[in-house]
């Protein structure tokens, strides 16, 4: 029994750690309706500034906190001014993507400055421990709890009782109305970003001290956990974020208690999905809160798609088809094979995110389902590879649609967060379901691609195979979009209430889109499995989901040709910058930012 007390205390302690990030996220979401994927990077920056202060300048703790808060706030202001303000009048997805680009840039800058080796960030508090239950609590635990709670209370008071706080809330409610009432919306945004960034920086410092360890890979995890906690609490609700964090910490701790350590994150993400299904606006969203998103075409940039003449498409297809006859190296072919595989994934995502408006951040899970199905069928049941890949596609279509269906009633950002969680859940199930997936050992010795008994092992034949599959899928999708069904999809995207009033069954159409999209993604995963010959639960990870989304937005949402163009560009870019070694992700991030800034509707425009 005393162990349960310990689990509870531990859950609350780690919940406090999550709260530090979640509060900043909630504040920004409250005002800008933006999930700031760069919050984890500000946390990272704060940790390293703290390291410089503590280890090199030997500042005392209060001064360290001030230095970190001020420096992080400046970073936040710079992000707001140069990264996000120019995107004010563009589509909602543009700032979201910009924060992803900013996080790439910040993480890489920190890595280049400080090297990727982890560093010790010594705690500046005395190391006394108080016995509580079977465990102990130290002053740093209390400080973290204090900072989390105090900042939540202060923010609550600020939002409720100060003049600037009113302005912030007014801006959150209705930006245009606030502006007409004389609120300086930019100043409000600035204030919010500064405060949130200061909080983010201090949280990086405290968490670094707590673990006596900081490293450049810590930002993504912080963002993920922070987002989960924030959404559980009710996005944009500051006290809700704290309670959501504590709840997340408790659920994880109890999950470990009952099922063991390797299930920990599984419960975190399951909690999120359950909350979203039961209370789509989070646990503490107030009834008076404005709807989370405007109801129509949230993510879709109003744009006229670039019409590409048919002969250009044919010529491009022909050139790519005969490319292997020219003296191109296998490296170029392999890079293009990667592009075609990513292209299939992008086709899938552009359909669900672009055409029907369900922005998925967990699309890599569909790859994983297809890959594992195809690999296991061909390896254990000797199913011919060609058939196994098709089965992989079907399995992704069925299982993927089933898993994603609870998110059908969600809107806007909540869909992305739910799919992000589903993606993580699939990966963790693969890790833990050892009797089927072989767990962390992964599957090796997957037979190479083959078709009617002929093995496709030369890059040339794999190139043609994957190119053909992609083109066929693209043609089918083009046909689909031109049909009545495609128009229904777009109607649901543009105004789901009108579409429902017109008699369209939203769930049925969303399912259809996910079935088709799931098939394309599953086929892509299946081909990849046979191409790599070895897969494990990390082969298809969150980064791939983010990459796929980037491709789709780059190409133009819902745009079939755009998806393929985007895939070639985004597989190609890092390869082109390969020569820049450590700098290439930095350059990639900057290119992404420039694209979002100057062409938010994508290269070829939204269909």
């Amino acid at each position: 029994m005393s162990s349960w007390l310990d689990y509870t205390i531990n859950g609350l302690i780690v919940g406090n750690v999550y709260a530090l990030v979640a509060v900043g996220l909630a504040l920004i979401f409250g005002v800008s309706r933006l999930i700031n994927f760069a919050q984890g990077s500000i946390y990272l920056v704060g940790a390293y500034i703290g390291w410089v202060a503590v280890v090199q300048l030997h500042t005392p703790l209060p001064l360290t906190i001030i230095v970190v808060a001020v420096a992080a706030a400046i970073v936040g202001l710079i992000i707001e001014r140069f990264g996000l303000r120019p995107l004010q009048n563009s589509v909602r997805i543009a700032p979201l993507l910009a924060t992803i680009g900013i996080s790439f840039v910040l993480d890489q800058l920190v890595m280049l400055t400080f090297s990727p080796n982890p560093r010790a960030l010594p705690s500046q508090l005395p190391d006394v421990r108080f016995q509580v239950g079977g465990g102990t609590i130290g002053p740093l635990d209390l400080l973290i709890a204090g900072v989390g709670l105090t900042s939540a209370i202060l923010l609550f008071v600020f939002l409720r009782y100060s003049k600037l706080g009113w302005a912030v809330r007014a801006t959150a409610q209705d930006r245009d109305a606030a502006m007409q009432m004389g609120v300086d919306v930019n100043r409000v945004n600035q204030a919010v970003f500064g405060i949130a960034a200061a909080l983010g920086g201090v949280s990086g410092l405290l968490v670094g001290m707590y673990y006596n360890q900081i490293d450049t890979a810590m930002s993504l995890q912080a963002t993920l956990k922070g987002v989960v906690a924030e959404v559980v609490g009710g996005a944009g609700n500051v006290p809700g974020a704290v309670i959501g964090s504590l709840l997340l910490g408790l659920v994880e701790s109890y999950g470990v208690a009952v099922f063991g350590t390797s299930y920990r994150n599984l419960f975190a993400f399951l909690l999120l999905v359950v909350v979203l299904v039961l209370r789509p606006n989070g646990l503490f969203a107030s009834a008076r809160q404005a709807p989370p998103e405007p109801l129509t075409g949230t993510f879709i940039a109003p744009s006229r798609p670039v019409r590409i003449p048919r002969w250009v498409l044919l010529a491009a297809a022909a050139i790519f088809a005969i490319l292997p006859f020219f003296p191109v190296s296998f490296y170029v072919l392999q890079t293009l094979i990667n592009a075609w595989l990513l292209g299939m994934l992008a086709l899938s995502l552009t359909l669900v995110a672009g055409t029907i408006g369900q922005v998925s951040l967990g699309h890599a899970a569909l790859l994983a389902i297809g890959a594992y199905t195809s690999a296991l069928l061909s390896l254990t049941l000797n199913v011919p590879v060609g058939l196994a890949i098709i089965c992989g596609g079907l399995m992704s279509a069925a299982l993927g649609t089933l898993l994603i269906s609870p998110s059908f009633r969600l809107r806007g950002h909540y869909v992305s967060i739910a799919t992000l969680a589903i993606g993580e859940i699939v990966s963790l199930v693969i890790l833990n379901w050892e009797s089927v997936t072989r767990g962390p050992i992964g599957i090796s010795g997957i037979p190479p691609l083959s078709l009617f008994g002929y093995e496709l092992i030369s890059p040339t034949s794999i190139y043609w195979f994957s190119f053909t599959v992609m083109v066929v899928l693209a043609l089918l999708q083009g046909r689909l979009l031109g049909s009545h069904l495609g128009r229904s999809f777009r109607a649901i995207r543009d105004d789901d209430i009108a579409a429902r009033a017109y008699g369209l069954s939203l769930n049925r159409y969303k399912s259809l889109a996910f079935i088709f999209g799931g098939f394309a993604a599953g086929v892509s995963g299946g081909i990849a499995a046979h191409l790599y010959s070895y897969i494990n639960h990390e082969t298809f990870n969150t980064q791939q989901s983010i990459l796929a989304l980037t491709v789709v937005i780059l190409g133009g949402l819902g745009n079939v040709v755009g998806a393929m163009l985007g895939a070639v560009a985004l597989v190609g870019l890092p390869e082109v910058f390969r020569i820049a070694a450590e700098y290439r992700i930095l350059i990639y991030g900057i290119v992404l930012l420039l694209l979002v800034r100057f062409r938010p509707q994508g290269l070829l425009g939204t269909m």
Partner: protein, 385 residues
């Protein structure tokens, strides 16, 4: 039909032209050009730290090889391609290396998914893939062009088990392991050996690489009431677990796999890692000349920085590569065959290293029983903690 024939013909002749070009470049290559090794590894992304450590070990080894006259008078160099340890990128890099006639052999990648995804391409392309951190049991089964100096866990874990059970007398063990292919394989070898030596495994917990909070895990451990904790971890997570174990009041003996061996383990773990026992493949006070030369050279080149295990692996790998190239020359197939011929290459990890031709791995890793005393790794003097 004739169409297909023409295509095949066209393709054939182009291939022949390319091959010809490659051949002539190879044949008339200037001998003042360096012999080039390809390296596929992470320089960015979550594993970037390991790529950085590789470079340090490589560069030190190359300095020494150059000082000793290079490879029969020629320079040895490497081309490092950043894969982020991502399979999609490592396969593209593999094609790049295979089709670049200057590359005589490849080193890496870091993780199993990235390495093993590229293996079929290296195998078909006839280029040696020398994976020196690939302990996945199936890595060298990818084909006869896959070789590894990564210590097989089948070799190492029984030594750690002997240290914990026979020497330290721990009878009830809690095993915490990184839940990856490496951690999992290691755990299985460890638990089998430990049971054989008469110990009981009372609890096993696998954690994912991003995990930072182990308090609840440690409550489970406490409730199982072991008399020793076994960490199959890297240094950063190992240090975290040790710190949190002491914070929640666990006072049991901690015993860790060699992968925590790094000055960083002590820096990150602080007082909590005092008295932690580590079975390791090398340690700085080892009097063997190859170890002393490595440490002295490393400190001199990198401003007094202490080398760690990954520095040692990459240093050894580069020396091994040089020894192989010395025998095999610049022909890729001859290089593969040279792996069966190299004998007793001086190395930090193995003393004198020779490949076991059947497993394509090196056997007989050195093992020292260390303990952390006064903030430093020291040889264990046999006294209980």
């Amino acid at each position: 039909m004739s169409n297909i024939d023409r295509r095949t013909l066209m393709k054939g002749s182009l291939a022949a032209m390319m091959a010809g070009a490659a051949f002539s470049r190879g044949a008339f290559a200037d001998t003042s050009e360096p012999i080039l090794l390809g390296v596929s590894g992470p320089l960015t992304g979550p594993n970037a730290q390991y790529g950085t450590q590789w470079k340090q070990g490589f560069d030190l080894a190359l300095d020494e090889i150059m000082a000793a006259g290079g490879i029969n008078g020629r320079k040895l160099a490497y081309q490092f391609e950043d894969s982020q340890s991502d399979p999609r990128q490592s396969v593209a890099i593999a094609q790049k290396f295979v089709s670049d006639p200057r590359i005589v052999m490849e080193l890496g990648d870091f993780s199993s998914p990235a390495s093993m995804a590229a293996s079929p391409i290296y195998q078909r392309g006839g280029l040696v893939q020398f994976g020196f951190t690939n302990s996945h049991p199936d890595f060298t089964k990818g084909g006869d062009f896959m070789w590894s100096t990564s210590v097989s866990q089948a070799d190492e874990q029984p030594l750690l088990a002997a240290y914990a059970v026979k020497r330290l007398g721990l009878k009830k063990l809690a095993v915490l392991h990184l839940n990856t292919d490496w951690g999992r394989t290691s755990r299985d070898y460890f638990t089998n050996a430990a049971k054989e030596y008469g110990a009981e495994i009372v609890v096993t917990e696998g954690y994912i690489a991003e995990e930072r909070d182990f308090r609840s895990t440690l409550v489970r451990v406490r409730d199982a009431n072991p008399d020793g904790l076994i960490l199959i971890s890297y240094y950063s997570d190992g240090a975290l677990i040790a710190r949190q174990a002491r914070q929640v009041g666990l006072k049991q003996v901690i015993c860790a796999a060699s992968s925590v061996y790094s000055p960083k383990f002590i820096e990150l773990g602080g007082e909590a890692v005092e008295d932690v026992h580590v079975g390791t493949r090398y340690f700085p006070e080892d009097t063997r000349p190859e170890v002393q030369k490595f440490i002295a050279g490393f400190k001199k080149k990198y401003n007094g920085q202490e080398p760690d295990a990954f520095n040692a692996y990459s240093y050894d790998a580069m020396n091994m590569a040089a020894a192989v190239v010395k025998i095999g020359g610049t022909d890729r197939k001859a290089i593969r065959d040279a792996f069966t011929k190299v004998k007793d290459v001086s190395s930090v990890i193995f003393g004198s290293a020779t490949f076991d031709v059947a497993s394509r791995r090196v056997k007989g890793a050195m093992n020292a029983e260390l303990v952390v005393r006064k903030g430093q790794f020291a040889l264990w003097d046999g006294k209980p903690t």
